[in-house]
Symmetry: none
Amino acid sequence: MQILRPTTERTRAIDDSEKAARRDTLLNAAKTLFLEQQPSLPSVQAIASRAGLAKGTVYLYFSTKEEIFISLLGQMYEDLLKQMNEVAEKAADPVEEMVESIVAYTHENPHFLPLASMASTVLEQNISDQHLMAFKAMLFSGTIRLGQSISQTVGGQTDAEACAVLLVHTHAHMLGLWQMQQMPPRIREALSRNNMGLLAPEFNQALRTGLKALWGGTPSPP
Amino acid sequence: MQILRPTTERTRAIDDSEKAARRDTLLNAAKTLFLEQQPSLPSVQAIASRAGLAKGTVYLYFSTKEEIFISLLGQMYEDLLKQMNEVAEKAADPVEEMVESIVAYTHENPHFLPLASMASTVLEQNISDQHLMAFKAMLFSGTIRLGQSISQTVGGQTDAEACAVLLVHTHAHMLGLWQMQQMPPRIREALSRNNMGLLAPEFNQALRTGLKALWGGTPSPP
Amino acid sequence: MQILRPTTERTRAIDDSEKAARRDTLLNAAKTLFLEQQPSLPSVQAIASRAGLAKGTVYLYFSTKEEIFISLLGQMYEDLLKQMNEVAEKAADPVEEMVESIVAYTHENPHFLPLASMASTVLEQNISDQHLMAFKAMLFSGTIRLGQSISQTVGGQTDAEACAVLLVHTHAHMLGLWQMQQMPPRIREALSRNNMGLLAPEFNQALRTGLKALWGGTPSPP
Amino acid sequence: MQILRPTTERTRAIDDSEKAARRDTLLNAAKTLFLEQQPSLPSVQAIASRAGLAKGTVYLYFSTKEEIFISLLGQMYEDLLKQMNEVAEKAADPVEEMVESIVAYTHENPHFLPLASMASTVLEQNISDQHLMAFKAMLFSGTIRLGQSISQTVGGQTDAEACAVLLVHTHAHMLGLWQMQQMPPRIREALSRNNMGLLAPEFNQALRTGLKALWGGTPSPP
DNA sequence: CATGAATGAGATTTCATTCAT
DNA sequence: TATGAATGAAATCTCATTCAT
């Protein structure tokens, strides 16, 4: 009696879970290739080959290449927001821990900020309004929810909405800082040699500094 | 004795001023076209035609298309830094006035932030190390200088270096905020209709808020 | 005693009449879609969807897309030949009435001539020899039969074979005329505006003229 | 002193005659390939390779693949009309000689009728209105001119306009006949084996028969 | 019988850059 | 210096057909 049949042996994704798995395979292939050839998006052919599928198959799961990467990015935002939420709910010093959460996340997901930086200039240019709105809606609800968590944790003095606004600024700050320090290693070294390291701020440290300033008005619980 | 020959009839730029003029013609054409078809960069053919020149001629003045736009962007950063410097030197409330200076500049130069947002992901990917370093060096010295001005204006409690660091954060914040609110008008409207306006913060106002928080620790002169 | 089970709920065509019905459903879907998007053949996916079936099911009934349309075309030729036969058997002026029969048929079946025009260049390129021969055989026997009818009606001076040859010419003439006048409406209007209407002859009238000339030698019965 | 420099050594078509030559090279490559793989149009890549040029170069001379073939077809119609004109001007029996002219032309240019048969269903579907109108205008003026020649030759009883109309019918008949006899050799043989040769009329002979009937009313000069 | 996931060949077109003239 | 012809690498996306389920 056969019970265990490895799903990987199926050549067709028939039910929804198999389809989701195949979608994930494609997303992973896209992620891997993007990491290899940053900052340009890999071609659909390359993604398909890496996933062991045909080019046409990719278009069964995503309707444009950019949709693949928005999807990847959306997943990451969701993960990050969830992780920050968990932190916010039990943190003694939410700001400090949020920063650490972001820093850790970007470290574990090195394609997150490169992709996030392409969102407005590249990715959002070739996806349907519907997908874009879904992405934004997810971002919105996650931000609101996180704002509420933080507000509750730090006490009543900062309301949820103010927290949400601060989160938007946090996001902007993170994006901008990352782009500033983003450059080919040889350029970074050259800047460093010429004492212009100011222009290539170390991301983690700069983020801590920046966010503390931004959230500074928010009193930590005594 | 100079024989009068109308410069407009000359088809070749012989001396340096003529060359500079031709370069400017190209930069202006590039700027105009970019404004028309944001957020994608216009083609070299389009830039050349708009400038009344042939495609090959563009490559006598710039070695890649991206170099044109980095050049345009560099000019704008220079202008903005200079303008902020003037403000910083005589401002009563430097932070307030710096924000207004940025807001005014971005208003007068609507291609500034779109281009700045493409710097790390698009423009810097296809220019020579040399040009990139020149761009960074200009940015560096401008930042240092502005930091000094601000430091002097606000008094000795905040040193020049700290001001430079704050300027880097200011830059990051501006970039990130702009990217967050950047989206097709119909998406903006849809967000607004769904009470998700939080995700499309009004740039000027958000920048004021953000920068005040960032610079907040800096005491204004009594 | 037949148990009532609504045929529409059956998802499988078991007996031959059900299979024929399903085939007809597909043919109708193909016809409708072709009329909508002339002059290109609709996709198999579109035909299947319109018929309420899956794409793979189409291939249970036809082995290529072109076979669907050859089938449709064959049906129409059969109908037309039959209709002309009826006319020929009792007509006072067979040529005159044949023309009217064709004109009426093409009017009632607007997809007939567009498809017939694609026969040699598109449809016949992707069907099996067997199907092509069946199509030709049907055409042949129909032509022969009609030739005999006409021959009998008009009297012994024109033999059946000569009539069949004239029918082949009739067919050719009809096809060619239709293709000449076939063009996008805006082009037709432009031709008309420039007094080049000669190139877009009105089909019905031109067919009458042409066929009268072709059959002219055939004496009508006194 | 170098005088003769073979134009074929130039790698760039600078002046108009060189450009025309290059266009011809492409048209010839297209013609050759079409003859080899009739009835499908060769790919642009194949045409470019055959011409010893790059794919992009093709698009400097033609804006779509279909434009190449309409151009080829237009050239052929022009040649044929001119040739028929010469014949008509001095022929004793214009109809007879016109038929021979067509037969000879189609024999020497075996890609003529295959392409002409694709005109309305394939070629005209992907070219600009402008090119299509130019094609039609050429056809129109050639037809008018030929009609006048014929009218003059045969004497005043058939006016030029009637001749033009007959030419349109001649064209239609030729197209239709060719399509009827057009089929893969093995099918032709099978028809023949089954005594269905009627359906694959020998083009030259059938054309003679058809055109004589069409032009029959036109009295030859005594 | 029916399904629809998977395939993968193919086709068009753009455009930055080079380099012969 | 200036030109613009030529290049050719991409890149996206469609769709007829197959075949595992």
